[in-house]
């Protein structure tokens, strides 16, 4: 068990080191998210009630679409020099490899998401209040499910030429439950300023997270196999 935890850490640190050294990718993804926020900000009347109510949806579009780019990159870096095959030649458990890649992707996405959240608050005139703590919690739990499913599909399409197009097509239909929970939960906290159903939305997201983390761990051998 300890050995498996060490290996998860080793794979995650390796991925995060590479991401840190190729900071350009981080900045590109962040810039894409900012562009989404700016476009919506210009497209809608900033002071209107309709914009205010649509804001949670806009936030999640800005969080999830750039996130797909990152998830796609995760296995692209393993195919460029055939490193995935190098890893496969070792005795590492494929489920452990999945958890290592997942963990690195999750940390990377949460970090980007926090920057995007700050930009969102500024662009859409929300205040830095206690309610934002709930949004951060939502971002963290939703990112777990998003990253788990994304890591599985990213590995699956990594050897396909049209992977950039295929990944979101495969990913988003499966993410519908957590996108609904994320948008509704954010709406409840930021617009209605209440938490009556928030726990239920978070519970739904956690159930989704557990199912797809466990699935990824169990099926990853088949995903990266011959």
């Amino acid at each position: 068990m300890l050995r498996q935890l060490v290996l998860i850490w080793v794979v995650a640190v390796k991925d995060l080191t590479i991401e840190y050294r190729s900071r350009q990718a981080f900045l590109n993804i962040l810039f894409f998210a900012l562009l989404i926020l700016i476009i919506f900000n210009f497209a809608f009347d900033p002071g209107s009630r309709a914009t205010h109510e649509a804001a949670p949806g806009i936030l999640w579009v800005a969080l999830l679409f750039p996130g797909v780019i990152q998830l796609g990159r995760s296995f692209q870096m393993e195919t460029e020099e055939g490193t995935l095959q190098g890893i496969m030649l070792s005795s590492i458990d494929r489920g452990v490899l999945f958890l290592g890649k997942f963990f690195a992707n999750w940390i990377f996405l949460v970090l980007i998401d926090l920057f995007i959240l700050v930009a969102f608050i500024v662009f859409f005139n929300f205040s830095f209040s206690v309610q934002l703590g709930w949004v951060v919690l939502l971002i963290m739990v939703v990112s777990i499910g998003f990253t788990a499913v994304g890591t599985i599909f990213s590995a699956m399409v990594s050897s396909i030429r049209t992977r950039e197009v295929l990944l979101p097509i495969l990913l988003f239909p499966i993410l519908v439950p957590i996108i609904l929970a994320a948008v509704n939960g954010t709406q409840e906290v930021l617009i209605r300023e209440e938490t009556q159903f928030l726990v239920q939305w978070i519970e739904l997201v956690i159930a989704f997270d557990v199912i797809f983390l466990a699935s990824g761990f169990l099926v990853f051998d088949y995903v990266v196999g011959d």
């Binding site: 290996l7 590479i18 190729s22 870096m77 020099e81 055939g82 190098g86 030649l89």
Partner: protein, 234 residues
């Protein structure tokens, strides 16, 4: 040598890709300490055969026995140098070896990484990012990665590709050391001179099939070249 138990035994290995036979009914025994070179023109199925031995792809028909264990257990006993380096360009040479050392469950992966860098003459550039390496340095690091876990079988797929004369000589001298240490090596190449320099046995693969097996006394280069050209026809 042939009296001992084979390290690797391929029986009736065939691999088809969408109806095309890349490897056709290959039967081969590799014994401990062998340095076997597989020659063949482009598209002969050499790389596919090596990938099957490394268990990176499964044969359509046939089976592999590897050191009395099944092929999945044998996977970690194989060191593989492919067309791709299996190295991360954004990590240093040392970090790459340390990473693989961790995967292979070394107690002291950092010590092992340092040892391999010294062995390959890369200790001075160990802290440089791999993307800054020359082709020759990268190939030596690739070899260090493949030998890191002291595999029982080293598989080399066209390791001389892209190397200049100095790099080729250096690689030959490293492979000579590997041979003297008693490792078992399978090298694939279409370059007869480089392939024959170290090998103790040679086979020719053409259109997926092994069409000739030659022992060390039949490996005189001009003779072998004539045989090769007659059989392969180019």
């Amino acid at each position: 040598m042939s009296d001992s138990t084979p390290l690797l035994h391929l029986s009736g290995i065939t691999k088809r890709f969408e109806g095309i036979r890349a490897v056709s009914n290959v039967n081969l025994k590799v014994f401990p300490g062998d340095f076997l070179t597989i020659f063949g023109p482009n598209g002969a199925g050499k790389t596919t055969l090596l990938r099957i031995i490394a268990s990176l792809t499964q044969p359509t028909v046939g089976h592999i026995e590897f050191s009395e264990e099944n092929v999945n257990k044998g996977r970690a006993q194989v060191g593989y140098v492919s067309h791709q380096s299996f190295l991360y360009n954004e990590l240093t040479g040392f970090e790459n070896l340390e990473f693989y050392g961790n995967l292979y469950d070394f107690r002291e992966p950092r010590t092992r990484a340092s040892e391999m860098l010294i062995k390959m003459g890369l200790e001075k550039v160990g802290q440089r990012l791999v993307r800054e390496y020359s082709r020759g340095m990268k190939q030596r690091l690739t070899l260090a990665r493949a030998l890191l876990h002291a595999p029982s079988l080293l598989l080399l797929d066209e390791p001389y590709t892209g190397l200049d004369q100095h790099g080729s000589r250096l690689l030959t001298s490293i492979l000579r050391n590997v041979k003297e240490e008693g490792s078992t090596v399978i090298l694939i190449t279409h370059n007869l001179r480089e392939g024959l320099e170290l090998c103790s046995r040679a086979v020719i693969q053409h259109r997926g099939e092994l069409i000739l097996e030659a022992s060390s006394d039949e490996l005189e280069i001009s003779h072998f070249e004539n045989v090769y050209l007659q059989m392969v026809g180019d």
